[in-house]
Structure formats: structure tokens, C-alpha cells
């Protein structure tokens, strides 16, 4: 039996078995996720209740509040409980309460405990206001796209990375005028390991710009402005990863970001963040992204920077299945799943293009509704910008042929520096030329039965299914401990951020899970 209208002769039963195994893998950890919370999850609740700003040493007030609750031994009840209790006690707003906590006038866990129902009701009202605001952001985006328009898929995705938000804006607006549909502001390299989110507009960064709520707001405003000019909604992307996954998600939801890098496993593998911490954090971050209508981008492409793209192709597919199931559990619909993969095979490989094509087409068929995020060659880019431009052209051809959703444009200067203004123009021109010139190629071409492309795709799918069945038996944590993704090994108790994991009490309260996961969108 083969998939109806599969060009690759993929067996739907194999796909189904793989998907079921991934489902069970995600379900197995969901119990653990539901029993625990983390410091950043609670800071997110504080932010969504309206707490913002920093103290005199630039420490964010959400950190001040959560530290106060943690020091008082109250984090198991959740920040919403203590902030709600303080509101009932004092009649103040969450922000006013945070400011008083900061100057030592309120110690949250020492206040008299009010009636539970009263606390819930008070918090619920504020929470509802926040989620209504996020819903309005979502509607604003939809209206803009309906009334003004948007680019055709694959969306052209480019990065800006000057370190200075105001310089980023110049580059982002230029890129939008040149044809970019998605602007990603690369984060400064060390931010993923900070256990707080910096505050305000920033002008210094290394290899990127700090993700702050104010930077989000400034860039959003600039992209709306240029979007009206060029007649396309310009999507804004940032990084919902590291030690503050859900906080960044909350900031993005409040400031109407559209795309977030948001992988269930990436932080564990590539930033050595503790796996228990990440698996809890990713859940709440995805609940928020799902509710806010944000397209998540998963990070499977990264496996191929450490592992071989031909030999380890099945691990990419296996991880996509797992990411899909974690996302579904967090309420993210398939249409918001930018599952990631990459064009990273060695260019010297004979028929390498055919293998890339097989992989991209296979991914398309296995996840038919997902706006797949396709990453350009990076590992085998050299200082030879002329060859690099051709590598990027082949990558663009595979993308239009197989209907990818989001095209992270390759830069001819990839191995040399962060993109210069004209590097970006050249790569947009490259993609536009090929996308336009070969727009319906995929509709016209079928693959030879049992030929190299079909067999390769069937083989990779079969290997992914085997891997998922193995993981289902072993559990995801044990699999990562053995180094099966990206060749990277991590320990259950190792990595950064484990201290920020706290078991919930029976009285734990987080209104946003219910409002966002169960609530109408």
C-alpha cells in the first residue's frame, strides 16, 4: 500500500507507526511536565499578569518577584497564587506589588493567605485581559494579511544581526523592500544561557541583538510601517529557546511576533541546558505560541551541523515526528509547525542533489500541512562566494520544487561574516529568480518508480520509524543520554538550569494554561 498521490511511494502504514511511536514518546513525558514547574515558567506568569521593568541593578522585576517567592519556599503553589493573594490583601496591581517586593515592603509568602476562590477570581480577571489582548494581536495580523497581503510561499526569511536594534531596523526595512517576507533578529550568542531576559532597547551585542520586549516592539513597529509600503505583511521572528523559553514566548505574544525558533530538544543538545528543565519550559512556551498564532520553527537542521546529513537523515525525520507530537500536546496546530530541515550534504557527493530532493519531498509528504522551514547550506560553505551562490541556487530549486514553507535564505558569504546589506539583496534575488522561474515544477514532475529518489526516501522513512520505535521503548531522556540525536550526549541531571525545576503542590495555579490551551482562539 502506498500513500495516495505520494510521488515517493511512501507507505502510509510506516508513517502511521512512526507517528504513533512519537505520540507515545511525547505522552510519556507529559506526565512529568504536568507535575513540575520552573522559575522561568513562573516568571512568565508574572509577565503575563503585567509585571515588567527592572530594579536599580537591571534585574528584571519578574526575577525579583519569583526569587522572593522561591526564597519563601512558595514556588510550588505558582506565582499566580502568591500574586493573586497579594492583590486580594493589598488591592494593588501586580506591577505595584512587584515594585513593593523590590523595595522590601512586601514579602509575598508572608502575607495572610486569602480565600482560594477569591485569589483565583482576582487573577483570572487580569489573566483574561492579557489573553484577550493577545487574541487581538492575532486578529490584527490576520486583518493585515487579508487587507494588505502577504508574500507567496516559500516565505523568504532573512536574518539581521548587527547587535544594535536601530541598525537592525535599517537592515530589516531594506530587506523587506528587497522582497523578504520574514525578518529574524538573531540573538546575541550568549543570551540563551541567561536565566533572565534583559530589558529595554539595546545597542550592543555579539553576533546578534538581545531579545528584549522593547526591541521586539521597535522592530514590530518598523516592519508594520514598511509592510504597508510594500503591500505585504512582514513577519518577525525571534528565538524562543534557552533558559527563558516561555518568557520569550510571552513577550512575543504581547508584541505580535509571528515566528519563533522553538524546539523541544534543541536547548538540551546544543546549549547543554538540563533536559528536565527544557522539557517543562518548552511546553508552556508552545502553549503560548500556539495561542498567539505564532509559527514555531524546530531546529532539526542543527543535527546536520554536527552529524552527517546523509547518514543521519533519519534522525532529522524522527525528531520532526517528536516535535510534531510535543507541539500538538501544547495546542499548536499543524499549520503553525515550521518543522526544520536543511540542505547540508557534502557538495562533492555524486547525486547529492537527488538525495536532498528525496529528503525535502519526503518531509513535505509526511507533514502535508506544516509550513516546513528549510535551512540553507552552511557546513560546506567556504570563502568561495561564487560557488556558494550556486549551492544556494540548488537549495532554492529543491525548495520550490517540493513546496517548502519558509525558506531561510542562504548567503553567499555564509562562512565569512554576518550578512552585509548587499549579501542579503543578492540572496533574495537568487531565490526570487528561481522561485518565479520554476514555480510549478513540482506539479509537473514525478519520480521514477523504484528509482534512486523514491528508494532513498523510503529508506530514510523506514530508518526513522525504527528509531522512533526504539525511543518509544527506551524513553526520550534515555535516548538523549545515549547521544542518538546529533551525536550529542546529555545527562538527566546534567547541564544548566536544573536548580530552577520545582515540583508543583496540589494547590498549584497557572490560569494561562487553561485560558490558552482550552480557551477559544
Amino acid at each position: 500500500m502506498i500513500l495516495l498521490n505520494s510521488k515517493l511511494g511512501l507507505n502510509p502504514e510506516v508513517i502511521e507507526r512512526a507517528r504513533t511511536a512519537a505520540r507515545n514518546i511525547a505522552l510519556e513525558t507529559q506526565g512529568f511536565i504536568d507535575k513540575n514547574t520552573t522559575v522561568t515558567v513562573e516568571r512568565t506568569v508574572a509577565r503575563l499578569l503585567g509585571i515588567d521593568g527592572v530594579d536599580e541593578i537591571e534585574k528584571p522585576l519578574p526575577n525579583v518577584v519569583i526569587d522572593n517567592i522561591k526564597d519563601g519556599g512558595g514556588l510550588s503553589e505558582g506565582a499566580a497564587f502568591w500574586i493573586g493573594n497579594a492583590m486580594v490583601n493589598t488591592g494593588l496591581s501586580p506591577q505595584e506589588i512587584a515594585e513593593k517586593v523590590n523595595v522590601g515592603e512586601i514579602d509575598l509568602t508572608k502575607l495572610p493567605i486569602a480565600d482560594n476562590d477569591k485569589i483565583y477570581k482576582t487573577v483570572w480577571e487580569i489573566a483574561k485581559k492579557t489573553t484577550t489582548g493577545i487574541k487581538q494581536n492575532r486578529k490584527f495580523r490576520e486583518d493585515f494579511i487579508r487587507n494588505v497581503g502577504e508574500g507567496k510561499k516559500p516565505y523568504l526569511y532573512v536574518i539581521v544581526a548587527t547587535g544594535n536594534i536601530y541598525e537592525d531596523i535599517v537592515q530589516a526595512q531594506a530587506a523587506a523592500r528587497q522582497g523578504a517576507d520574514v525578518i529574524a533578529v538573531i540573538r546575541t550568542t550568549a543570551q540563551s544561557l541567561l536565566d533572565y531576559v534583559p530589558y529595554g532597547p539595546t545597542t550592543e551585542g555579539f553576533g546578534g541583538t538581545y531579545a528584549t520586549q522593547e526591541n521586539f516592539r521597535l522592530m514590530r513597529e518598523a516592519l508594520d510601517e514598511v509592510g504597508k509600503d510594500v503591500g505585504r505583511y512582514i513577519r518577525l521572528c525571534n528565538y524562543c529557546s534557552g533558559l527563558c523559553m516561555p518568557e520569550i514566548a510571552a513577550m512575543g505574544a504581547l508584541e505580535r511576533l509571528d515566528v519563533m525558533l522553538n524546539d523541544a530538544l534543541y536547548g538540551i543538545l546544543f546549549r547543554d541546558i538540563n533536559m528536565q528543565r527544557t522539557i517543562i519550559d518548552q511546553f508552556f512556551s508552545r502553549v503560548i505560541n500556539g495561542y498567539a498564532g505564532i509559527i514555531i520553527n524546530t531546529g532539526e537542521d542543527n543535527y546536520l551541523t554536527t552529524a552527517d546529513a546523509v547518514e543521519e537523515a533519519h534522525t532529522v525525520l524522527a525528531s520532526q515526528f517528536i516535535n510534531e507530537q510535543y507541539a500538538l500536546l501544547a495546542g499548536i496546530p499543524e499549520e503553525q509547525m515550521g518543522l526544520g530541515h536543511a540542505f547540508e550534504m557534502n557538495p562533492k557527493l555524486e547525486n547529492g542533489f537527488l538525495l536532498e530532493l528525496a529528503q525535502a519531498q519526503m518531509t513535505r509528504e509526511v507533514f502535508p500541512k506544516a509550513p516546513l522551514k528549510y535551512m540553507p547550506p552552511t557546513k560546506f560553505m567556504t570563502g568561495n562566494i561564487f560557488r556558494g551562490h550556486v549551492q544556494d541556487a540548488l537549495f532554492n530549486l529543491v525548495s520550490i520544487w517540493t513546496g517548502q514553507g519558509i525558506q531561510l535564505l542562504g548567503m553567499l558569504t555564509e562562512a565569512i561574516h554576518t550578512p552585509l546589506l548587499h549579501d542579503r539583496m543578492l540572496s533574495i534575488e537568487n531565490a526570487q529568480y528561481i522561485f518565479n522561474n520554476a514555480r510549478d515544477l513540482g506539479e509537473e514532475i514525478e519520480f521514477k518508480q523504484d528509482g534512486m529518489i523514491q528508494k532513498r526516501a523510503q529508506y530514510v522513512l523506514g530508518e526513522a520509524e525504527k528509531m522512533l520505535v526504539d525511543i518509544e521503548k527506551e524513553g526520550i531522556f534515555a535516548t538523549i543520554e545515549k547521544g542518538k540525536f546529533g551525536g550529542v550526549k546529555r545527562a538527566l541531571e546534567g547541564g544548566k538550569g536544573l536548580k530552577g525545576v520545582i515540583e508543583k503542590s496540589d494547590n498549584y495555579f497557572n490560569p494561562f494554561i487553561e485560558l490558552m490551551l482550552g480557551g477559544d482562539k
Binding site: 550568542t189 550568549a190 561574516h417 548587499h422
Partner: protein, 251 residues
Amino acid sequence: MSLGKVDLTKIKPYGDTLNDGKMQLSFTLPVPKGDEADEAAKQLARKMGLSEASVVHSHDLGVGYTFFIMYGNCSHTVDYSVIEVPKVDLEFMDKKGVEQYIEENIKRDVVIIGACTGSDAHTVGIDAIMNMKGFDGHYGLERYKGIEAINLGSQVANEELVAKAIALNADAVLVSQVVTQKDVHIPNLTQLVEMMEAEGIRDKIILVAGGPRLSHELAQELGYDAGFGPGSFANHVATFVVKQMVERKLI
């Protein structure tokens, strides 16, 4: 190329005729596209020593800036015959050769620590040298018999790297720096040397830097034993390390 004789004391670029000086360049000027912009680009090229400078393509970048592709004939020459460039001057052994060399000359496992230091999160370089798989068909140090390779990964603080080097009694430390925005790698690389000197381990360890914009000369200037740029593989680094160990009697 046998037409005409190249005068090595006065070389200039070659397009299709000896000494035509042909060069191509591309850049952006912060002015709107137009005749004045083209003229500005040509004047700039002339100041760079290019005669018959021509703008073959200009492109509006959408923010009042213009991108140019130009050709021109370079009027300058350089004396190739007197050039001397410091480099890792070694006959590189392959993996087998290195393994045999260790067995015969060092007679114990060589401990090599690798890390991508500071804020740099780009491990592609250090992975290419260290990891089992290696890069482009060249196995990494982890696969070498006689080498104990420890890859600390990304964003390793210099303090941590020095502590690890002491704890593991490392013979060599490899530092990779890939993202070099605003030259952040320079102070970071210098700091590591200073810390190793302060700990009194600098002369007991072979210290090597690598990355796309690191030359051997720059690495030496910064106090490293060697620098490996693009196109370097594990066997190059391994050859250097084991030969240095023998030469400096660090066995």
C-alpha cells in the same frame, strides 16, 4: 601561461593578458542609485588605484543605498620575490602516521582538549577537528588511537577551560573562534594566554587557535603556538601537536 615573462618583483592582477591589472569588486555606497552614485563609485575606484574603472552593474538596495559591481585595472604592483609569510612549516602526517608517531615517540596517550570559547556558540570548526566523524572525509581526533580528545563544546569560559586543562593534565588545548563580529575573539584569545601564564601552565601546553579568520601569524602574535585557518583538518593539528611535544620535550 607561457606568453610573456612574469616579473616577480612587480606583479599585478591578471585578467586575460599579462599585467592588464584586471580586478572585480563589489560594494555598497550609502547614496541613492543614479548617475551621481555611479560617478562616486568610479572616483572611489580610481582612488584605490584602479584605472578605466567601470560600473558594470548597480542596484537600488531600497533604502537610498546602491550596490555596485565594478571592474578596473590595478595600477599598483607588489614585489613577490621578497615576501615571507610565517606558517606552520611541517610535513603533515596522515592519521596513521600520527598514530605511529605517538606510539614510537611519545609512548602514552596524548590528551587534547578542544573548546569554542567565550560567547561563541558556533562549534562547527572545533567539531570538524575533534569529533569522531571529522569533516569532509578526514576523521576527527576522537578516532585517533593514542589521542584522548575531549571536546568541551560551545561557550566555554576561559576559566573553565584552564581548570579543565589542569585537571586533565592536558598536553594541548585547541581553541576555536568562529563568530568574530566586532573582533570579540581577539581579547578573548589574549585573555586565555594570560590566564594560562598566571597558572604557570602556558609553557607545558601546546596552545592552538583555529577559525575562519585566524592565520598562523595572528595566532602567534596573540601568544599561541599555532593558528589553523580554513582548509585545516584533524591530521594537520595532530601533526603539529605531537611534533611540538617531542621538540619541546613535553613527553
